[in-house]
Symmetry: C2
Subunit: 387 residues, 2 copies
Amino acid sequence: MTLLDRPGVPGSAAARRGERTTAPRQDGVVLTAGVGALQLEAGGALPEVELSYETWGTLDADASNAVLIQHALTGDTHVAQGHGAEPGWWDALVGPGKPVDTEKYFVVAANMLGGCYGSTGPSSLDPEGVPWGSRFPFVTIRDSVRAEARLADRLGVRRWHAVLGGSMGGARALEWAAMYPDRVRHCVVVAIGGYSTAEQIALAQAQLLAIRQDPAYRGGDYYGGPEPVAGLGLARRIAHISYRSEAELNFRFGRRGQGAENPLEAPGGAAERGRYQVESYLDHQADKLVGRFDANSYVALTEALMSHDVGRGRGGMQRALAGARAEFFLASVNSDRLYFPEQSDELARALPGEVPVHSIDAKIGHDGFLTEIGQLGAELRRRVFTL
Amino acid sequence: MTLLDRPGVPGSAAARRGERTTAPRQDGVVLTAGVGALQLEAGGALPEVELSYETWGTLDADASNAVLIQHALTGDTHVAQGHGAEPGWWDALVGPGKPVDTEKYFVVAANMLGGCYGSTGPSSLDPEGVPWGSRFPFVTIRDSVRAEARLADRLGVRRWHAVLGGSMGGARALEWAAMYPDRVRHCVVVAIGGYSTAEQIALAQAQLLAIRQDPAYRGGDYYGGPEPVAGLGLARRIAHISYRSEAELNFRFGRRGQGAENPLEAPGGAAERGRYQVESYLDHQADKLVGRFDANSYVALTEALMSHDVGRGRGGMQRALAGARAEFFLASVNSDRLYFPEQSDELARALPGEVPVHSIDAKIGHDGFLTEIGQLGAELRRRVFTL
């Protein structure tokens, strides 16, 4: 398989431009694998799909120690530090001696279909060598999971010891359990319910419009020209507010002005006033994302997230999950106001058997699934990662 | 005074184009009064300010029965039905025989400074006859209240029996009590706290960017050309989500598609998929606002709302209100997730004496201050409107 893999820069979009090589696999270094053509749930097809991924640790002889970790909307494959210096986004959970111990488990993290961290997405080249752009088809959570199942085949993983993820990563973990009941032993779903709600769809629509209304977006065909940075930045601001709690924002920023800027002084009109700290903070969040993420991928993955509904076409959530054979581990963040804890509770009730919902205690809001994931470590060791 | 008043169409922006007349005042018909030049809090000035307003009922001989009702962000002066057929936005509260009985009280509702329903705003003509546009200065809640105080002088109202408002109208009511302690007997503040919080500022910033990033906005100088309808529509969507509760949106719309539209079918790409019902609903909300509101006024009033902070420059909220002589009546909506009930509670604690916070029981969210205002009727009759 190494003949088809490509090493790259850890956690970097440059990975997809890496050269094919036969170098040995290293922990936390991006590789890419072809998984073939994919017919898509909403119609259309992709002729040639590649998924980028990173791995940590070694698959054991009977391939029973493999763990799939699924990233969130703008996340990447670099879940743990590994070979390079760059920290991972779930370092508190994954690594040597950590609850998901990479000295015992073979950990895989794949970039989602449609993403911009190495997997086939709108910025990838089509068979004619032109970026997909506006022609990139509609991909759903289920499409991505089907591609990931082929990657698992390629990696020699018939059955995952565990599939886990938070936020949109949790949606993919849940779909794994529904689509491939024999291939998931433990399923860990953090900070998301069984479907995207009307409110989550509404907030997503606003983000999509922010990008699509940016004239630089050009319907998605902006490659080679100016990028829709204003639109993507606005989308990020809308999203980021929803990722944080009201208390968090108010405690950190209140009504203070940014540095020496005075929000209440603007003889020339409000457009010239100083910024509030919270505005400057959101400007910074927007700038950071714009520097690392492709607007078309933001659109594609947001559309996929809107499609999240494990019960769709399966007679509802309970029926969809009746055949799931995984042991489920659910968790929610108690201050989450985007994926309310009640939605995790509702999912738990739809699952076979008694499934408790663990609570992450955080003031920060939804992003507690990233910053406070360590709180689940002991329970995960006890129930899922017992090696 | 009638020599300076202008009748107009009830609740219509056309009011500001009305001719001067000596016609007698009629209930619920827009009039306009000049209130002179205004030096502004954030610097700058307006040379000649007009406020549009409507009235209901008759001012009694000792001018003791006057009530000022303050509208919210995109509200207008048409609080009650009156002479015309058009319903008012607080008809459940204001009218003949209603808690604010227009057969007993003289009710006034003024369009806020910066608005587009007849008061001086960005779409008004400057002294040279050119729309203000980008040159319209930064106006705050306090600036508007100072202009309203001059309107009260013009109307012969030395002291209001009550000043009341919800949302941004509540902010102006509160400022009245702080700025003119001798001129407010009862102050009714619904569904807003003593200041705009970091989160409210953050949500406002996103709305401002949605408009300002629309190329048709042209910095505010779009009059005579295409209007920034896409930007204003997006701002409205962002705002409207915050006005409604998650439960309301999910109960009404869930994940259903709009009519025959299928959100999961789009062989040509996600941009071509059918809409979810909640998307169609927000499209409709956006279209409605775009058809009745000026983008520059939306910006000006949003900026004013961000400035809301009764304690600013006055040693904090408690000190600012220590000298207030009004009897306060506070209320919050129990499902409000934009102006949380806790913020009304915090304001109550900052007020002199014991001030209870009445609770409007509504599933809808913030907009309950409009749809469920009737719930406060009995308490308002008991405590404020006792005639």
